[in-house]
Amino acid sequence: MNMNTKNYFDEMRIDNKTIRDIYQRYQHWQNQLPIGALERKSAEAELLFRRLGITFAVYGESTGSERLIPFDVVPRIFSASEWNRLERGIKQRVKALNAFLHDIYHEREIIKAGIIGKEQVLGNVLYCQKMQGVDLPNQVYAHIAGIDLVRVAEDDFYVLEDNLRTPSGVSYMLENRKTMMRLFPELFASHAIEPVEHYPQMLFDTLRESAPAGVSDPVIVVMTPGSYNSAYFEHAFLASQMGVELVEGQDLFVHDKKVYMHTTEGAQQVHVIYRRVDDDFLDPLVFRPDSTLGVPGLIDAYCHGNVSLANGVGTGVADDKSTYLFVPDMIKFYLGEEPLLSNVPTWRLSLRDDLKYVLEHLPELVVKEVQGSGGYGMLVGPTSSKKEIEAYKQRILSDPANFIAQPTLALSTCPTLVETGVAPRHVDLRPFVLSGKEVRLVPGGLTRVALSEGSLIVNSSQGGGTKDTWVLEN
């Protein structure tokens, strides 16, 4: 397959001579920069990030190693009308996903209606029996959702996946903006860019609305697995931006089905926990007994409605890559609307015909584990060697139902500063969607960019970088 980037939709250039409208002013500005100016700003940005300690830990490397996520100084730009369309589609999708979660943990109407198989839901390892019949405030399960979008043409966007467990990256969205404003104040003077800085306030409002019934002034905390977690910076960042305590499991305890934190004043009750700890580690009495990150009795307190967890427990069943297939049907079923955003066509390898087709076309396809995340354990056919494909084939055959396959999408490209200058690189977009009494999001999101030429993998764990994402005001 030809990996020449010219075959992809370029978000800045229509052809060698023509710049898309929304990038024209930017390009004009860039053309007037002295040689090496962008590179100098880029080095300055790296220094800023390093000094601020905006780092993440990479799993599998020696403990305590901290790396920067590369930040690209060229912004990605959306027009107001492009964003409006996306925003409606994203909100619709998240509403349907929350309705689905409420339904499967209550009446299971969607199963009764024959739209999704019983086995698909109840047989899913991420389905949480404990949550059956538990009522949550506002019937919201995924308070914070990250919807990964890719673009393949001017008007064609696809949802790549839904992240309903503990989606991360929002701190980069905010820090990228702050850094851009510091490096290029003149760009912000010449462009009307929708602000994103109020995200922490929106998150706080969402969490406050999600408090247990009858609690008007809830005590809210952010719960982190600890300072060695790869996203620790973000946990600390969000806690300080919201002005709430950042707690670890060891700071909390449960008494009489209520959750308290150890403070210098004694015990203080906690009402809402924005937890960045996976379900499995939340409560050693219910989930993994060896977990030292969690709080014994937390789930009991949660199920009794004395504390709210954001996100709720058991949301994984809805963002699983095999459930993903049914999201368009959920939108029709729960909202009675046509989906505004499309899914990527997907083959389920548990189906015989699909499996057969996929095995025959592996070099063209992307294959993922159903429950995988972060770009780990996937096969990108076109960029893999015969040997890698063969090895992956054996993995598929050992448990076909654990995999799905998708066509290799022609991800759009954005101009990006690389060693050879500014060149197109593939990007995706993760907007962060907040659901409380209403669904909210700030314009834009986190744009991730695959820095090596031709690469389609944007995950930070796989060497991807990030960009500031602009939505221009009308």
């Binding site: 000094r51 960042f237 700071d251 210098t264 009794h304």
Partner: protein, 333 residues
């Protein structure tokens, strides 16, 4: 405030103060080593003092044996194996700060983080001649951190715990310097007012930035009694025991909380003893005995603070408002 948070704030401040104090002690040892030998004694003799003050003698001897200028300097300044080295202290301070990033201001974090990054850069290629500059740098970073802290942090109990860590550590250090140096000095010199005396007492005073203050206050030859008075009882001398206990006591009063009664009592008692103490009585008791007692009290004060605020236990006896819960329905799951 979370117990774990204040624990980290407390230790963050202590580690930075300790790094500064170690830099001060080493700086003075370096200056003294430039004096003629007959004033200070042998090299080993001179370089045991910093080891004793920082409580690192045993660890050092295991690794290097006899005290020598370059190895002692390295061990106390940069050795990652030494749990009290400047390197380790600044590393720990950053770990503490990282654990409570949301509780300190971003400016504070940046100072600590930048210090750590810079430390790693300079320590990789440190030449012996550069150490005096390094000690100045450590002191500068500590001053900068203190300034940024006072200039940016909300004046709530987090600041009180930072002060608590700083001044407990400082009191501890001043007491140790005085104790160790005093021993050396008394053994060596009978001739009060000699040149050697001037330099030796002078170096002690310089290590706690008190030389100029001494000249200003006493305008006279340096005498052990006055040095002790300055560093123990004068409350206008920023590194004296009295000044430190002023801060410790007021921090504990600001922190308040029903759990801290014993810590407040203990600090108040020490503070009162310094406030009303007379230097003649200190010498009647014996300076070494007096300082040993003082360090013992500091130790138990530290324990009281830990028990009252830093440890995590179920403080159910002092829950502010505890609603009476009526019959709880068991939900079957």
């Amino acid at each position: 405030m979370l117990s774990r948070t204040v624990e980290n704030l407390f230790w963050m401040a202590r580690h930075i103060e300790r790094a500064e104090n170690t830099a001060r002690v080493l700086d003075v040892a370096h200056r003294t080593s430039l004096l003629p030998l007959d004033i200070e004694g042998t090299e080993a003799y001179l370089w045991y003092a910093p080891l004793n003050i920082t409580g690192c003698a045993a660890g050092y001897e295991r690794k290097y044996g006899l005290a020598k200028a370059d190895t002692v300097t390295y061990y106390l300044a940069l050795d990652p194996d030494n749990p009290s080295s400047i390197y380790t202290c600044l590393k720990m301070a950053r770990e503490n700060a990282r654990a409570v990033r949301s509780a300190i201001t971003s400016e504070m974090w940046e100072i600590i983080n930048a210090t750590w990054l810079e430390l790693n850069r300079v320590s990789a290629q440190m030449e012996y001649e550069k150490f005096p500059d390094f000690f100045d740098w450590v002191k500068d970073r500590s001053h900068l951190f203190r300034g940024v802290t006072l200039g940016t942090i909300l004046k709530d109990i987090s600041l009180s715990f930072i002060k608590l860590g700083t001044f407990l550590e400082r009191a501890d250090n001043t007491a140790r310097i005085l104790d160790v140096k005093y021993h050396i000095l008394l053994n060596e010199n009978d001739s009060v007012g000699s040149a050697a005396d001037y330099y030796q007492w002078g170096s002690l005073l310089k290590s706690v930035s008190a030389f100029e203050a001494y000249r200003k206050i006493y305008r006279d030859v340096i005498s052990p009694l006055r040095v002790a008075e300055l560093l123990i009882l004068r409350d206008d001398m920023p590194r004296s025991l009295h000044a430190c206990m002023n801060e410790v006591e007021s921090a504990l009063i600001d922190i308040n909380g029903s759990a801290g009664k014993e810590a407040r009592r203990c600090a108040g008692e020490q503070h009162a003893a310094l406030h009303f103490g007379r230097i003649d009585d200190v010498f009647t008791q014996g300076l070494h005995e007096y300082l040993t007692d003082f360090l013992g009290h500091m130790d138990s004060l530290g324990k009281n603070i830990r028990d009252a605020y830093l440890s995590r236990r179920d403080h159910f006896d002092n829950l502010p408002i505890r609603r009476v819960v009526q019959s709880q329905q068991q939900i079957t799951t």
